[in-house]
């Protein structure tokens, strides 16, 4: 799954993507940028 890295200012594939659930029950994905290591978040399932 891709997300926009706010540090690199570019779309990147989420590394170490982990599925999480928001409090409203909706799925989301969090991981890190493969290029700079910044945290990345994106709603939806990877």
């Amino acid at each position: 799954m891709q997300a926009y890295c706010i540090k690199c200012r570019a779309k990147r594939e989420i590394k170490d993507a982990k599925a999480i659930t928001m409090k409203n029950g909706r799925p989301a994905t969090q991981g890190v940028c493969p290029s700079c290591g910044a945290k990345m978040y994106r709603v939806g399932k990877g």
């Binding site: 997300a3 706010i6 928001m22 409203n24 029950g25 909706r26 989301a28 939806g44």
Partner: protein, 205 residues
């Protein structure tokens, strides 16, 4: 082939000018808050790809769409209205009718300024989900949230008034968040704003 995240993607078809920016950002925030992902023509700003082809691709990857037709006004310089929004609404409805099987369950919300105004310009859309916001951000947030709750079957979404409060909180915190990322809150691109809204909603709610 149906994309993995098809069921989470929402295409936004609306004006992209400064006058509409606050409304656009509020709709993007609401969609994200409800756990869906925003797609729009601004996501590949430097693409050499034809803009219409890009829009067709995005529509093919989205189950849902929101079309704001509230700005059907005569341009004072050309004396003509802008037709892009009704055109893209037509493409979405065409994809739903003529597309592959999984496109048949596409759902769209149409936003306008006043009730029944569309009857004077695009009366053929009568019977679809049409809501009006009267230019009010809070009303637009409530319309989008309620439509998503009804069409997606998500039972635990926060109410529209909660989302509006969170939107105000996000707007208040945005300059600080931007500062931490060497960005200017007044000059965010769609991708930057969408990314920050995703991070904020996932970490906060």
């Amino acid at each position: 082939m149906k994309q993995k995240d098809y069921d989470y993607n929402i295409f936004i078809n609306c004006p992209f000018d400064r006058t509409y920016a606050r409304m656009f950002n509020a709709i993007v925030f609401t969609i994200t808050h409800c756990g869906f992902y925003v797609r729009c023509a601004l996501e590949e700003p430097d693409s050499s790809e034809n803009r219409l082809l890009r829009i067709l691709n995005i529509i093919s990857e989205c189950k849902y769409s929101i079309h704001d037709i509230s700005r059907q006004e005569i341009d004072t310089s050309t004396q003509l209205p802008r037709f892009n929004m009704p055109l893209e609404l037509g493409i979405f409805l065409g994809a739903k009718s003529f597309g592959k099987q999984y496109h048949k369950d596409k759902k769209c919300l149409i936003l306008d300024k006043e009730p029944y105004r569309y009857r004077q310009s695009v009366s053929d859309i009568a019977g679809l989900d049409i809501e009006y916001h009267n230019g009010s951000i809070k009303k637009a947030i409530v319309c989008v949230r309620n439509w998503l709750a009804n069409t997606s079957g998500s039972k635990r979404l926060y109410s529209g008034s909660f989302i509006y409060q969170h939107y105000l909180q996000f707007q208040k915190e945005l300059p600080k968040i931007c500062n931490q990322n060497n960005l200017d809150a007044r000059g965010l691109t769609f991708l930057e704003h969408n990314s920050l809204a995703n991070a904020w909603c996932i970490q906060t709610i």
